[in-house]
C-alpha cells in the first residue's frame, strides 16, 4: 500500500526535497531598501510632502507634466509600484500584490521611509483606491487626498454601474497577452533601469511604462477585479475627486458614487477628456490640485 505522501515515507532514505512553493521575498524594512525597491525619488523644497502614485499601465513618468509645478511649495515624491518602471522586479510577490492592500502597504512603507506626516497623496486611477486604503491603515500620513479618476469597482454589480462586465475584463487580460507578444524579456533590465535616460530610450520603441508581461497581467487582474467599495467611508483626511469628461475607465457616475460615499469629499469635473488628465490636461489638473492644497 502506498502512503498518501510518497515523499514522507522516504524521509530516512532521501534528502529533504525542496518544495516548489513560491517563496515570498522578505523585504527588509529599512527606509533605504523601500526607496530603492520602489525606485522612489524626492525633489523640491518646502515643509510639506506630496506623494504622486501612478496607475495601471504606466509608471512615475505619468507625473512628468504635473509634479514639477509643486516643487516650489512641496517636497514631491515619485515612485514606481513593484513591477512597474524602475522598481525592483525581483521583489514582486504574486500573493502580496493580489490585492490592493499589498500596494497600500508599500505606500505606507514609502511614506514612513520619508518620515511623512500630514502630507498630500495624489493618486491616479487605481492608485486613488490604494491611497484610500493606505490612509485608513496609517491616518497620520496624509491630511489630504487627491483622487484622479477613482473607481472603487470596475465591474457592474446590481445597481452599481462600474462600466464593465467580468467577461470584458477577462478579455482585457487576453488582450494584454497579444500586445506583449513582441516584448522581449531580455530587453527588460535595460529598459527598466533606464527609463529616465532618453539616450538609451531612443533606440527602443515604447520604452516608457514598460512592465514585465506577467506582472502587467497580474496588476490588471488586481486593478480591474478588485471591489473596494467597502473601503469608502468617513476619513480623517480631506478628499478631492478629479473627474474627467468622457472617461471610459472611470465614468462620471462612478466619480459621483465615490463623492457620495466619502462624507465631506469634493468632486471637481475637469474639462479634460479621457482617463489621464495629468497627461492630457496638466495645467487644468495642476490648478485644481493647487486650489485644494
Amino acid at each position: 500500500m502506498l502512503p498518501c505522501d510518497p515523499a514522507s515515507a522516504l524521509s530516512n532514505e532521501f534528502p529533504a526535497r525542496v518544495t516548489m512553493s513560491v517563496t515570498s521575498t522578505m523585504i527588509p524594512f529599512t527606509p533605504a531598501a523601500t526607496i530603492a525597491q520602489l525606485n522612489a525619488r524626492i525633489s523640491g523644497t518646502g515643509e510639506r510632502m506630496m506623494m504622486f502614485a501612478h496607475g495601471f499601465g504606466c509608471d512615475q513618468n505619468m507625473w512628468r507634466f504635473v509634479a514639477p509645478a509643486f516643487e516650489i511649495d512641496f517636497r514631491t515624491i515619485l515612485f514606481d509600484y513593484v513591477g512597474a518602471g524602475g522598481s525592483d522586479l525581483a521583489s514582486y510577490d504574486p500573493v502580496k500584490y493580489a490585492s490592493l492592500d499589498g500596494y497600500a502597504d508599500d505606500v505606507v512603507a514609502l511614506a514612513r521611509a520619508y518620515d511623512m506626516t500630514r502630507g498630500v497623496f495624489v493618486g491616479h486611477s487605481v492608485s486613488a483606491m490604494i491611497g484610500l486604503i493606505a490612509a485608513k491603515k496609517a491616518p497620520e500620513l496624509f491630511s489630504k487626498l487627491v483622487l484622479i479618476g477613482p473607481s472603487p469597482c470596475y465591474i457592474d454589480d446590481g445597481d452599481y454601474i462600474g462600466g464593465f462586465t467580468r467577461d470584458q475584463i477577462n478579455e482585457l487580460l487576453e488582450f494584454l497577452d497579444t500586445n506583449h507578444m513582441g516584448w522581449s524579456r531580455a530587453m527588460a533590465p535595460m529598459i527598466m533601469g533606464n527609463a529616465d535616460r532618453p539616450e538609451l530610450g531612443e533606440e527602443l520603441t515604447n520604452s516608457f511604462c514598460r512592465t514585465d508581461p506577467e506582472i502587467a497581467k497580474q496588476f490588471a487582474r488586481t486593478t480591474f477585479l478588485s471591489d473596494n467599495r467597502a473601503d469608502l467611508g468617513p476619513l480623517d483626511a480631506r478628499v478631492l475627486i478629479l473627474q474627467c469628461r468622457e472617461d471610459i475607465i472611470a465614468p462620471t457616475p462612478v466619480g459621483e458614487y465615490v463623492r457620495d460615499a466619502i462624507p465631506g469629499s469634493e468632486l471637481v469635473i475637469l474639462d479634460a477628456t479621457g482617463h489621464c488628465p495629468n497627461l492630457s490636461a496638466p495645467d487644468e489638473t495642476i490648478a485644481a490640485i493647487k486650489a485644494f492644497v
Binding site: L2, P3, P6, A7, A9, L10, E13, F14, P15, R17, G55, F56, G57, C58, N61, M62, R64, F65, S125, F164, Q168, E171, L172, F175, L176, D177, T178, N179, M181, G182, G201, T205, N206, S207, F208, C209, E246, D247, I248, I249, T273, G274, H275, C276, L279, S280, P282
Partner: protein, 375 residues
Amino acid sequence: MTVGAGDARVDIDFEDLFETAPCGYIAADRDGRIVRANRTFADWIGVPAETLAGRRFADLLPIVGKIFYETHFAPMLHIQGSFNEVALDLVTADGRKLPVIANAAAQRDATGRPTAIRFTLFISAERRTYERELLDARNAAQATVREEREESELREQFIAVLGHDLRNPIASIASGVSLLMKEVTGERAQMILRLMDGSTVRAARLIDNVLDFARGRLGGGISLTRDAREPLEPALRQVVSELRSIAPDHQVDASYALVEPIDCDRVRIGQLLSNLLGNALTHGAKDIPVRVDAFTTPEELVIEVANGGAPIPPAALDRLFQPFYRGDVHASGQGLGLGLHIASEIARAHGGSLTVRSDAAETRFRFAMSLPLQS
C-alpha cells in the same frame, strides 16, 4: 509633383496617395478626435469617410481596446510622442473585429505638448492568427512539459517507495532462511535454502540499485558516507562470499592486496563490487573462473572483475553503463540493467572511474579511484 528621370518620371498625387494608400491614415486632434480619415480606412471598417470626423479614435475600438487605449496608448503618446506596433482590433460597421497593427505619432508644440495625433494602421489578420497560434503552441508546450515532469516525478517516487517497502519483507525472508539453515539437516533442504539465500541477496541488490536509480532521478544523486577508519577488505570479502553462495557451481577466485586505511564509502564500494561480480557471474562462461582482484598502489585503489566467455560487442560497449541497458544476447537476461549503471555512478561519486575491456580472452571491468597522498 514629378520625380524620377527619363521615361520613369511619375506624377505623385499626394491627395490620392493619402486616400488610397494600402494602409489606413487618420489625422486626429490632441485628444484623439478624428479630423480626417482616409478612404482605405473608411472602406475597411465600412463607413463613409466623412462620417468619421468628430469621432474619437478610441470609439472605433471594442471595449477592451478602449481600456488599453486609455491606460497605455494615450499616455505613451503624451509621454514619448509616439507608440508603435500596437495590436488592436477595430470594430467594423457590421460589428466584425478587424485586427490591425497601429503606429501613432504626436505632433508637439515647443513645450512638448501634443497638438495633433496621426495614426497609421495596417491590416494584420493573418499575422495575428499566426501570432496567436504561436502563443497557443507555446502555452500548450509549457503545459505538456509541466504535466510530464509531474508525472515522471510521481513515477520515480512510486518506484522509490516500492523499493523501500520491499526491503523489509526481503530482510525477513533472509533471516528466516538463515535460521532454518541452522535447524534443518536434510542435504536437499540445505541446498534449497542456499538457493533461497542467494535469491534474497540478489533481490536485495536489485532493490538497492532501483532505489539508487530513483534517487538519482529525483535529484538526490548518490550520496557517500566515507569512512577511512574501518577497513575495506572485510566488506569486499563479505560481498564475494555472498555471491559465491548464489552461484556455487561457478568458481570465483579473489585476491586482496589492500593497504588500509582507504577513504571511501565501504558499503558503496561493496555495492559496486557486488554489481560487477553479479554481472560477471550472469554473463561469463560458467566453466571459466571469475577473477576478483582488489589492490592498492601508492596512488590508487583498484578493483578488477574479469570473466571469460563471449566478448561484449564493440557497439554495445558505448551503452553499457547507461540505465536499463541489457545486452540483447541474453534473452533470459535477469535484472533491470541497472547494475553497471549504478556501479559507474558509485565510481563517479568517488571521483574514480569504471572502465571495461573485452576481447576473446576475457571481459575485465576496472574500477580505479585515486588515493590521497600519504604524507
